[in-house]
């Protein structure tokens, strides 16, 4: 007789929604006729992600929280706590927007950003044929849903093994969909292979770290690890295992020096996928980092603090300085994402010795603002096109403001937000993480961070200079008229970027209330 594990269906509803939709998507792929497949898949994906968002919000609103931070369910494997729900909602919300970007059919003349048949060798006669055909394949939707589901498990995993499984569930689909670009396919495939190889490597690190920690503490549950570490103190195995675990996670979060895949993958992947990765993967990875460090190793603060401290500096400096030399917008935003990962780590350090501190709330808020802003920025990139797909080279953006003032204005808003100019969401987020870090005495780090921000501001500004102050290039790109999905994404992200800059009170409050891990 095996006891049924305790399962709180309400707590699992968000995951069930997303994974259920993903499975339905697979079935649709197999059985729905070709003509209706795209609209059906989009609908399924939107219901899945939107339902996931709604389910988290409903659960968070109706659950009897009492004094606790949340429950551990699924036989101790998942911690559905306040912070976990906040992160799940963030992932689900951002993925709704990302799915909308996937669904855009008005911009590419071939009606989709994704290749019709990924198995056709790039450059072959059949490839040239399918370049112009308007046939689309829709496997990207269920794949993305699986990734979203993986991310949502990732941020609530209460157990290192579940965390590893979630890591793989979210990563494998991402490797695949990175290679699905309709144009510049070799670049895209190279990105996918690179991402896969390096990702597999990072997973191995994580797994090894897991094994070491298990060997040292005799458990894979975060809470039990914490107890064991607190009782026995951290021995060499724990420290080594912790380091390896962090490396695996930092890789996913594209933190320098584990970032080398980021520019290539961001550039090669189809832009909607890049947007999805930049926003959602970042949230998921940092969610897991926060949980691992705060819950399992919160008492071992002094073993990881110097490591995170140093990595944060490296990431900010590498991202900001190498960003300066980029001439491709997607690569530039990739380096920007590396720099922002450093800022996020600044927030992670805002954990106080007593387990208090505003670091968790600040980092979660930053993740939300950064996700929205970067998603919006990538959405703008999909609009500016030349004959060969998206016009990603900086020089092609010269004089964009005179060609399309609205597009330029929206892009300028996102860039100013990424640079952290007040009255945009980016500033509020930056202020929150810097404050959290200074409160814990990490002011030298904050000083480095503000200087890195200034350096990074230069490359954001350069784009604005090009768009607004340079004469338009003679054979410049055209600005596509976005369809409904992209318009919705731009409207939501731009207004959120402004709203979270001007009146962030309510959301900050929410993050503050949600900043509690169970265990």
């Amino acid at each position: 007789m095996i006891d049924a594990p305790d399962l709180s269906l309400a707590a699992l509803a968000p995951l069930l929604f997303v994974f259920g939709a993903a499975c339905v998507g697979v079935l649709v792929e197999a059985f729905a006729p070709r003509e209706v497949r795209h609209p059906v898949q989009v609908a399924v994906a939107l219901v899945g992600t939107g339902g996931g968002l709604a389910a988290t919000l409903v659960y968070a609103a109706t659950h009897e929280w009492g004094d606790g931070a949340g429950d551990v369910t699924a036989a101790g494997a998942l911690a559905v706590d306040k912070a976990g729900l906040f992160l799940q909602a963030t992932v689900a919300g951002l993925s709704v927007l990302a799915v909308l970007l996937f669904a855009e059919r008005g911009l590419d003349p071939a009606r989709s950003a994704f290749v019709a048949s990924a198995a056709v060798p790039a450059g072959s006669p059949r490839d040239r044929e399918q370049l112009t055909a308007t046939r689309v394949q829709t496997e990207v939707y269920p794949l993305a849903l699986f990734a979203v589901g993986g991310m949502m498990v990732f941020v609530t995993a209460n157990d290192l093994l579940i965390m590893f499984v979630a890591l793989e569930v979210l990563s494998l689909p991402l490797y695949l969909i990175s290679g699905l670009a309709r144009r510049r396919r070799l670049l895209s495939q190279e990105a996918a292979v690179k991402y896969f190889l390096l990702g597999a490597f990072a997973s191995a690190f994580f797994l090894y770290g897991l094994a070491l920690v298990y060997g040292a503490t005799g458990s894979i549950r975060l809470g039990e690890i914490r107890q064991s570490v607190a009782e026995d103190g951290g021995d060499v195995l724990v420290v080594l295992g912790l380091a390896l675990l962090i490396v695996g996670l930092l890789f996913k979060a594209s933190v320098a020096p584990f970032h080398s895949w980021t520019p290539d993958v961001y550039q090669g992947a189809p832009t909607p996928v890049t947007a999805f990765m930049a926003a959602c993967t970042k949230v998921a990875a940092f969610g897991a980092i926060l949980r691992l460090l705060y819950v399992a190793f919160g008492t071992e603060e002094w073993t990881w603090r110097p490591l995170v401290y140093g990595v944060a500096i490296v990431s900010m400096v590498v991202g900001a300085v190498l960003g300066l030399t980029q001439t491709d917008l997607k690569r530039m935003l990739a380096y920007s994402s590396i720099a922002h990962a450093g800022f996020l780590l600044t927030g992670v350090l805002g954990l106080g010795a007593d387990g208090e501190g505003s670091g968790l709330a600040a980092t979660m808020f930053y993740l939300l603002t950064y996700g929205l802003t970067t998603l919006g920025a990538f959405a703008v990139l999909t609009l500016v096109r030349d004959g060969d797909g998206e016009a990603g080279h900086l020089a092609q953006w010269a004089g964009l403001a005179s060609r399309s003032p609205l597009t330029a204005a929206v892009m300028a808003l996102f860039l100013l937000a990424l640079a952290g100019i007040p009255l945009t969401a980016g500033f509020t987020g930056k202020f929150a993480v810097f404050r959290a870090a200074v409160e814990q005495g990490a002011w030298p780090l904050v000083l480095v961070a503000v200087l890195a921000s200034a350096v990074a501001a230069f490359f954001y500004l350069r784009v604005i200079v090009l768009m607004y102050f340079s004469p338009p290039a003679a054979d410049g790109p055209t600005v596509g008229v976005p369809g409904v999905p992209t318009t919705v994404v731009l409207a939501v992200t731009a207004s959120a970027t402004l709203a979270l800059g001007i009146l962030p009170g309510a959301v900050l409050d929410l993050a503050e209330q949600a900043a509690r891990f169970v265990g």
């Binding site: 005179s402 404050r435 607004y468 009170g505 409050d509 503050e512």
Partner: protein, 538 residues
């Protein structure tokens, strides 16, 4: 009457005005101008009413408004003015309509046949919209009594100015705009670190973090921490003010900015730096202020002389005026860090007077450039014979700049010097040399451009001999002005619009020269209060 939220209105009116002007359909250029002028005049009226409602013998901060803004950070949307801020608001209220008037014909498809406004994306609507937005931000910076709010305006203010320089400026506008933005941003970000540090200190002392100026003023901060925080604020303000050696962005920005932008940049924006010294550095970090005062004073005096020498070497009129400003900012910093009531009062008065005098000088130089199409002094000569009124105003502006007795600047410069002398005699004596240099650079510029035979872009009266070449400076005009004329032109005298623009300033130069008490009464109580803060924790 005094319950009316003047300060909120003075921010909201231009901000909304900017939105409306920017949203006007293409081609409604005239309406955009009229609307902008109207909005700026409304703000002027509000400012004057606010000044009337201000009680010089009353509380330190008046016309206060405070609403919780971001409770999680302990930030309030708190506004209020003391005498120092009030006179700066008056200056803003005055200069903005004049700047709009001066830019009225910029970019219009004018007589010279260059329909600059027709070039897409250069629409002057946006020029005026950015100008109004800048006005809203400037009012916010001076009116904020919450350090976080001050910081927000301080940084956000960069964006409109950045677009004003970058879109409507001279040939090297891209370079100048980016340089302006980055210099200010670096300073601002360092200040951000200090602002956060201040918050954390307040949290540990008061139990709950706050950004409210009044609460922060009462903190007893450890001297070591004070020094760090002081430096954070100081660097930002020293870049803004600008003090040598952090000044190199100003000549570029002021030279490339459109005239209207340059007037506000030098006249008001830079004053945020000196205002910041007085409002934040001195009261919040008294020990550190005293500790660093000798260093600041040396920088100030070096700035006075160094910038004056550089000004003499300039061939570009706008750069020359920019350097004279740096020299004057040295005087202001000297007055502030001498820590005497006379000197500090003089410094605040200097801030206003410099805005008036240099604003006038920039406007006149702009009018000259609009006619000649060149920024080079060497391209002009004998203008006075053809445009006597222009020359007369130029002379008034120049004399006000070099602080001739009877003009407004004299009073303030004199106050600064006699106020500083008892405390810092050596610095004061050395700084006095700057006055002599000021006479040199101003008068040389005046003499070369206005007198002598017609030269360069100025067509001789006879008009039969074509001049040898175009302006040496190439495309020297600000971009919104007419394209550089390759040929020399007869100089028109001031038009009625231009007279209307310069008259208020000329009148103020004289009135404040003989009757400075009007402003001193407002300024002095605030200065006394500020220096009290400095001494209170001695």
């Amino acid at each position: 009457m005094s319950d009316f939220p003047f300060l909120v209105a003075m921010i909201a009116v231009p901000a909304l005005g900017a939105a409306v002007v920017a949203a006007l359909p293409k081609g409604r250029e005239l309406l955009a101008r009229q609307l902008s002028l109207g909005v700026s005049l409304v703000v002027l009226v509000l400012t004057v009413l606010a000044a009337v409602a201000f009680d010089t013998g009353g509380e330190r901060f008046q016309l206060t408004t405070s609403v919780a803004w971001i409770p999680d950070f302990g930030v309030d949307f708190a506004l209020g003015v003391d005498g120092i801020a009030l006179v700066m608001l008056l200056l803003i209220g005055l200069l903005v309509p004049l700047v709009i008037g001066a830019s009225w014909e910029d970019g219009a498809p004018g007589a010279d046949g260059v329909p600059a406004a027709a070039t897409e994306g250069r629409s002057m609507r946006f020029f005026f919209a950015w100008l109004l937005l800048l006005e809203a931000m400037m009012v916010g910076v001076f009116a904020a009594t919450d350090v976080f709010l001050f910081y927000v305006f301080f940084e956000a203010m960069l964006v409109p100015m950045y677009f004003l320089i970058g879109r409507f400026g001279g040939p090297r506008r891209q370079y100048a705009a980016v340089k302006f933005f980055l210099y200010s941003l670096v300073g601002g970000l360092i200040m951000l670190a200090a602002v956060i540090g201040l918050y954390v200190v307040s949290a540990s002392e008061l139990g709950e973090g706050t950004f409210a100026f009044d609460a922060l003023r009462d903190l007893e901060i450890d001297p070591g921490v004070q020094k760090l925080l002081f430096l954070g604020f100081f660097v930002a303000f020293a870049i803004k003010a600008p003090l040598v050696p952090l000044h190199t962005w100003l000549p570029d920005s002021a030279a490339e900015a459109p005239i209207g932008g340059a007037v506000l940049l030098v006249g008001v924006l830079d004053k945020v730096g000196t205002f910041g010294f007085l409002r934040y550095c001195l009261p919040l970090f008294p020990d550190a202020s005293r500790y660093f005062a000798p260093l600041v004073l040396v920088l100030a005096v070096v700035g006075v002389l160094y910038a004056a020498l550089l000004a003499m070497g300039q061939s570009d009129m706008k750069r020359l005026v920019a350097y004279t400003s740096i020299s004057h900012f040295g005087f202001i910093a000297l007055g502030i860090f001498a820590f005497t009531t006379e000197a500090a009062t003089g410094a605040v008065l200097y801030m206003v007077n410099h805005g008036i005098a240099t604003g006038l000088l920039f406007l006149v130089v702009g009018m000259l450039i609009a006619r000649g199409g060149s920024r080079q002094i060497g391209d002009y000569g004998g203008v006075a014979a053809q445009a006597p009124k222009l020359a007369a105003v130029f002379l008034v502006a120049g004399l006000a700049s070099l602080a001739l007795p009877g003009t407004n600047s004299f009073v303030s410069e004199f106050l600064v010097l006699i106020g500083s002398f008892p405390e810092r005699p050596v610095h004061t004596i050395v700084a006095t040399l700057g006055i002599i240099l000021a006479a040199l650079y101003i008068l040389l510029m005046y003499q070369r451009t206005m007198h002598g035979p017609a030269r360069g872009v100025v067509a001789p009266a006879g008009g039969d001999e074509p001049p040898e070449a175009g302006p040496a400076g190439g495309a020297g005009a600000t971009a919104v002005l007419t394209a550089p004329s390759a040929t020399a032109v007869r100089f028109r005298d001031l038009s009625r619009r231009e007279i209307a623009v310069v008259t208020p300033l000329v009148v103020l130069v004289i009135v404040l020269g003989v009757q400075p008490q009007l402003l001193l009464d407002i300024i002095e109580p605030a200065v006394v209060a500020t220096l009290d803060d400095l001494g209170a924790t001695r």
